[in-house]
Structures are given as C-alpha cells and as structure tokens.
C-alpha cells in the first residue's frame, strides 16, 4: 500500500531580486528533503524543482506567479514547506543583500 498523493498550488516570487542563484539553491536543497517528484513552472513550461540549472531557466523575477506540483508520499509536506519558503521571500526581503 502506498499513500501517494498529487497536489498543486500557486506561489508568487516575493523577494525583490527574484529567483536568482541563491534562492534557487535554497529551493533545491529544500525540495531534496522530500521523496516526492516536485515540478515548478509557469505557463506550459514546468521543470524539475530539484535541479538548480532548471530553476534558473525560469528567469522568475519578483511578482512572477509560479505553479508547483508534487507527487508522492510526502507531497503535502513538500508543498507546504515550499510555499513557506516563497512566503518568506527566501529570507531576503531587504533589497540590500548580496
């Protein structure tokens, strides 16, 4: 018996610098803590949330809406954790970082 579930939601890039290298790295590290397959994207383009190279191809600037989907035994927890990271603006809501 497996308890795989499939979930999806929409998040918004909140930090002023957008989804640049460091937030992408944070997102990959977080996604890798879950067994579920996690996809992220906009429009018809969806990429692997566990690959930094793929995440950077999104070029997601501040204000961009992205859809996230997860499939697997821990899909629920994965989506929740990722939403929290986006809500927190990748902990760089002040524009003077980096």
């Amino acid at each position: 018996m497996t308890n795989d579930s499939s979930l999806s939601t929409i998040v918004v890039v909140r930090n002023p610098q957008g989804l640049h290298a460091r937030p992408a790295d944070m997102l990959v590290r977080l996604a890798n803590q879950f067994d579920s397959t996690i996809k992220i994207g906009k429009g018809s383009e969806h990429v692997d949330c566990k690959s930094i190279l793929s995440l950077l191809t999104l070029g997601a600037a501040a204000g961009t809406e992205l859809s996230i989907s997860a499939f697997g035994s821990d899909a629920d927890a994965a989506i929740q954790a990722i939403v929290e990271l986006f809500e927190a603006g990748f902990h760089e809501m002040n524009d003077d970082e980096e």
Binding site: A21, D25, L53, S54, T57, G59, A61
Partner: protein, 159 residues
C-alpha cells in the same frame, strides 16, 4: 537576452591558468579590466565582492559550470565574460564536481532583472549537452565566441 548582450568578446579566456577559486575570479575580472569593461581602481573591490558572494554559497551550479557574480555600483550595465579551464577547478560546487566553464557577471545594483535574464539564458543554453561539451573543448577565445554566437542564433536550443 542573448550572450552578445552581456558577454564581452575581448574578455573571453579559453585557457585559464587559475587553479583555485580566487585565482579564477581574479583572472576573469582582470580580463574585464583589460577589455575596458571595468575601471582599474574598482578591480580589487569587485574581486572582494564576488568572493564575498561565494562565501554565502558556491555559484558552482553543477555540470561543471559556475556563475560567479556580484552587483557593483561602478558598472552602468551588465558586463560579463566567459572562461574555460581545461583541467577544471575545485569551486565547492553544489554537486561536488570540478568546474570547467565560468560565466562571470557584474551587474548594476538597481537592475536585478537583467541579472536574472542573463542567468536564464546561460542555464537554458547549458541544458544542451552539445553546447556544454563543445564549450569545454574550446581551445581559443574565437572558438568560444563562435559557440556563443551560434547559441544566440538558436542553433542549440529553441527559446
């Protein structure tokens, strides 16, 4: 955004001498100075800023690729260069692999969008294995320059 919009052809380095992370960054920033993209009195500050960014987490994003970068108020527009190391350099990459391809970027602080679009272009092109492999095999700046041009002409990937 295309490579031609932010990579200065004269600053491209095909045969990096550097064997450490700091040397790579110095060599590539030096190339931007020699090609007139940055001011001489800003060089050390730019190198320090890029190293400081690396301390927050390596920009070695995997597949033998790194994108060392910083924002810096001394540049008026996004400037960048490409360096290739035949031996590869230990860059504390996220996947632990040595890095052979370097895309160094310096952007004005008030233009985060340009930086994102440059990263988008670099990562899209590098998803193509041929482009990645040909770049790593490049022996001269002219070879690299031609590959970037071909990528700009969509000969590797669409979009």
């Amino acid at each position: 955004m295309k490579f031609a919009d932010f990579i200065n052809t004269k600053a491209i380095r095909a045969d990096l001498k550097a064997v450490t992370k700091e040397e790579v960054i110095q060599e590539l920033v030096e190339s931007l100075l020699e090609s007139g993209q940055i001011e001489a009195d800003q060089k050390d500050d730019i190198i320090a800023a890029i190293m400081k960014r690396e301390e927050l987490g390596s920009t070695g994003i995997g597949r033998g690729v790194a994108v060392p970068h910083t924002k810096h108020p001394s540049v008026q527009k996004l400037v960048g260069t490409v360096g290739v190391s035949s031996e590869g350099v230990d860059f504390d990459s996220l996947d632990g692999e040595r890095v052979q391809l370097f895309f160094l970027l310096i952007s004005p602080p008030e233009r985060p969008g340009d930086h994102l679009r440059a990263l988008e272009n670099i990562s899209r092109q590098l998803r193509d294995e041929n482009f990645c492999r040909f770049l790593k095999q490049s022996k001269t700046p002219a070879d690299i320059s031609q590959l970037l041009q071909e990528a700009d002409d969509n000969q590797f990937v669409s979009g």
